[in-house]
Symmetry: C2
Subunit: 354 residues, 2 copies
DNA sequence: GATCACTGGTGTAACGTTGCAACGACCATA
DNA sequence: TATGGTCGTTGCAACGTTACACCAGTGATC
């Protein structure tokens, strides 16, 4: 295989007997400026040579890219996989591409990625970081980086141009916890990885709020937040949930209801419940968060808080595109969608006391 | 926010009191060619100005990119999500980026993406297409596109430079089917979407081969391949499996063992089994393919054929990188990894006859 | 028959980077 | 003191594209 020469706009121009400018005009929606005959000649030439414009040259010249960055914890988690998929579809429909970055919840890695994206000429990023502070990206934001954060409610100290799109995590967990309390549960537990991220903190707060509203002492509830790990990957969430369930249920005064920080974690909790010989719902109720596809497939189907990820992804892209194409015109804002509790069969009244 | 001027290599050069060439030399691993003092001045300037090289300019000049393309059916399917994640990690370790493309099993979309990737200057793509023919990418391969196909055994008519990495799907399904037969099952069913892709065809063949080897007439087995849909998305696989199970089990002579084309589909089958009031394993055994994280979490934990996706992803990237950086030196080849049957609890002997 | 406005098309410079060829300065050798 | 070699650094052209300014021709208007 020999070193392949690319087909350039000059070659097309020559083949069509016009100047490169004319070809460029056609390519950039200025076809009306030429005779139909010319236009057809050029189109034929493009077709015949299989010409594809060189994106790097175009980007260098115009300063624009048709690529956005997506930073998620890990597409190994089906929730993020689905989100990535929907975002990518929205992008495709508008001629954009998506560069995938799994931060693995590693701040260093996340920072590195944002820098790289900037180098790539990418000026719009959907960040699903959840790091409380955005200081590591502030210099870039000041230079013109457009950021849409997802699943991370806006913070007071955030840069003002920021757009944030998220489900209301506090409300969501409030709903979940209240559901459990309404079923008669009094001994609850909250299972999560380290509470380092905004959304986890919010979810935890929803849990505590609901407890207090019901007159239950907050300290009566167990909180299991993976003391060992500073942070944990989203795939390991399941393993963590499993471990948590085993530990919680073999202690004294085991909980009868467990709310998990997300569905993967909840599924792990369910597994842990079976590990110790108990039954989900019958012995201990579990509620998750996200409503991944598998929640409904599980046995028992998982009660959970739904994040409408197609809509959220679509909004995120639309918001980002508007800002990238028209920087500085719209002020920062924050969209907080109210989530919905989906009651399935992993929750039931607590077993009657002996 | 005003239009932001990028920081260029010239500005760095000026700030450091050297020429752009010197900065470029430093950036491209030719630091030994300058005095330590110069080097430090330049490094300081880069740091102080927050300079990031413009990738588009660099790519235009050198013709190289540090980006590869990944075309998967859909990262909404946890198997592909995990694969994407591992591939991306391998890429990151070598300074590469990954552009994500979900084909949604739509040939038109896949074709479009490959064209776009080429336009982006990307010369290496991991293609998880499974389309039997590669004709739609042949022109680009001839121009120098390096392709590693994954989960698609090499075909006779493939371009010679092609690398293909895959699990041995025939063997895998053979293992799964034989496992069921060994447990005493005689009435089996194979559930899949349309058998349009190479891997599905292979998996089906493994199923039939095992049947024949056991002296079971192939036509005694039911095959459910989603007659309605031309193709189906990976997320819908679960829905399809569910429907298949309901239909198969309410017919006459229902199967006692079902092998599903992948885990998502198998999970759907399990759900369908419960829909009709039967129990997985106890009444009908199910075996999947992939070994996604959730297989082990499920109730009952799913017996399945494992694809070692971290290793496969790592190999795919290594193979692709070698070819992109050194085109035309290595001939095409094909790596077929033997998969492993993971026996869990979704399979059991068939219920004894009344 | 000048002037003007359009129409269809072209020439040119620039985007930021790289790598080669070339440079002057210095030192060792003859 | 010439000659040659090395060292550290730089000038220059080019990668493929685009947008602006410009131009030559045509037809209408005064």
């Amino acid at each position: 295989m020999d070193a392949m020469a690319e087909i350039t706009i000059q070659q097309v121009a020559q083949a069509a007997g016009v100047s490169p400018s004319t070809v460029s005009n056609l390519l950039n929606g200025r076809a009306h400026r030429m005779l139909p005959a010319t236009r057809h000649r050029v189109e034929k030439a493009i077709e015949r040579l299989g010409y594809r414009p060189n994106r790097a040259a175009r980007q260098l010249r115009t300063g624009r890219t048709q690529t956005i960055g997506l930073v998620v914890p890990s597409v190994g988690n089906p929730f993020w996989g689905a989100f990535a998929r929907h975002l990518e579809s929205a992008a495709l429909a508008e001629g954009y591409h998506v560069l995938l970055c799994n931060s693995e919840r590693n701040p260093e890695r996340e920072r590195h990625y944002i820098d790289e994206l900037w180098s790539d000429g990418i000026r719009g990023v959907v960040l699903c970081s959840s790091l409380p502070s955005l200081d590591h990206v502030r210099p870039l934001i000041e230079r013109g980086l457009q950021l849409v954060t997802f699943d991370r409610a806006a913070q007071a100290a955030d840069p003002e141009s920021l757009v944030s799109i998220s489900v209301d995590n506090v409300v969501g967990m409030h709903l979940a916890t209240t559901h459990l309390i309404g079923l008669g549960h009094r001994r609850l537990a909250f299972v999560s990885g380290a509470l380092g991220s905004v959304n986890r903190k919010d979810r935890y707060r929803g849990f505590v709020d609901a407890l207090e509203l019901a007159g239950l002492p907050a300290d009566s509830a167990a909180v299991w937040s993976g003391a060992s790990a500073e942070w944990f990957g989203d795939v390991e969430a399941a393993e963590l949930g499993r471990e948590a369930a085993r530990e919680l249920l073999s202690g004294d005064r085991p909980p009868t209801g467990i709310v998990a920080v997300n569905d993967m974690c909840a599924l792990g909790v369910c597994r842990g419940i079976r590990d110790v010989g108990l039954r989900v719902a019958h012995d201990v109720s579990v509620v998750g968060f996200d409503d991944i596809v598998l929640a409904d497939l599980y046995d028992p189907p998982l009660t959970t808080v739904r994040q409408p990820s197609p809509q959220l992804a679509t909004s995120a892209f639309a918001e980002l595109k508007a800002r990238v194409e028209n920087p500085g015109t719209t002020p920062g804002r924050s969209l907080l969608v109210r989530p919905e509790l989906v009651v399935r069969e992993s929750t039931a009244p607590p077993p009657s006391h002996p």
